[in-house]
């Protein structure tokens, strides 16, 4: 379980940044115009791609590899899905993006607290 403030604050900022940008980008590109399911799927792809390029390379230098990649891809994916389904404006983009980033990170931290540590002793 991560307890260092540098990483906790960094993870939070990274996930909010990726999710909010994903919501904004897929709102701008799709914004609910394609219907619920196509918008969601296209937004998902946009969000995942965004988490990888350009964010992953930059964020991983400062914050780690898997610890950035796994939650940020999920934040990007969900943020993209939201932006693809809904026609949002500035405040909505920020609210949904930051909410997504915080929620995803909280879930990943909770899951990590559950499954990190010794798993097996002996064959």
């Amino acid at each position: 379980m991560e307890t260092r403030w540098y990483f906790i604050a960094g993870d939070l900022a990274a996930n909010i940044l990726v999710a909010t940008t994903a919501v904004a980008l897929s709102t701008w590109l799709i914004g609910g115009a394609w219907g619920m399911v196509p918008g969601m799927l296209a937004g998902m792809v946009i969000g995942m791609a965004l988490a990888l390029f350009p964010f992953f390379g930059l964020l991983s230098i400062a914050l780690g590899v898997m610890e950035v990649m796994t939650p940020c891809m999920l934040s990007g994916m969900i943020g993209g899905m939201i932006g693809g389904m809904l026609d949002l404006t500035g405040a909505g983009i920020w609210t949904w993006g930051s909410g997504t980033g915080v929620t995803v990170l909280a879930l990943v931290y909770a899951l990590n607290a559950t499954i990190s540590g010794p798993q097996r002793t002996g064959s």
Binding site: F7, G57, M66, V68, V108, P118, Q119
Partner: protein
């Protein structure tokens, strides 16, 4: 078996940016777990370490050990030269492919790996090579990132692996299963982050 030139060339190219990409955030994040695993190095025994990379892990080695370090990439070994020379113990670095190691059978007491078997092209064959050079009762200690069994991370890593493996590691390896398939007996698996970063301890 001859050296895998495709893998060698890929890591030769990666040597230019490896310190930048892994020397800060990833090292700060993983440093405590790595130091814990390397603290098991025993000064009395012969130790094999792979993959050396640019030698970032050397600062986490306890002093006074007798370590042979290998890496498939000549550029990595060249960049590691100063760190190898600064180690307070006996550390030598060689360019060598884990699939084609020229060490004799049962020549090491301990083997340590650090983010290695995400990149070895034939992981079970590579681990069998480690099994060959490890003495009976010898220890294998690994710090590795692996695939996940947790959805949606499992799917995300499978989707990303074709891209990631062009520049660096594969992200969906089942390294614990590979260690067992190579004949080792697992003594402990410890998840460092989710089930994607872990330490694995095994014996021959």
């Amino acid at each position: 078996m001859s050296t895998d030139t495709v893998t060698r060339d890929k890591w030769d190219r990666a040597a230019r940016s490896l310190d930048l990409m892994t020397g800060y955030g990833p090292e700060w994040r993983w440093g405590p777990a790595k130091r814990k695993i390397f603290a098991r190095m025993q000064p009395a025994g012969k130790i094999l370490f792979l993959a050396l990379g640019t030698g970032i892990d050397i600062k986490n080695f306890p002093p006074g050990c007798d370590i042979k370090a290998i890496d498939i990439s000549p550029n990595m070994v060249e960049k590691a030269k100063d760190r190898v020379a600064a180690y307070p113990g006996h550390l030598s670095a060689q360019v060598m492919d884990v699939h084609a190691m020229d060490f004799s059978d049962e020549s090491f007491d301990q083997i340590f790996t650090s983010c290695t078997f995400c990149s070895v092209p034939n992981p079970v064959d590579g681990l069998k090579s480690l099994y060959r050079v490890l003495k009976p009762g010898g220890e294998l200690h690994m710090f590795e990132h692996t695939g996940s069994r947790v959805f949606p991370f499992s799917l995300m890593m499978k989707l990303m692996t074709p891209l990631a493996s062009r520049f660096g590691p594969e992200l969906d390896r089942d390294t614990v299963a590979n260690v067992e398939a190579a004949g080792f007996q697992i003594t402990q698996v410890n998840n460092v982050f989710l089930d994607t970063v872990k330490t694995i301890h095994a014996v021959k």
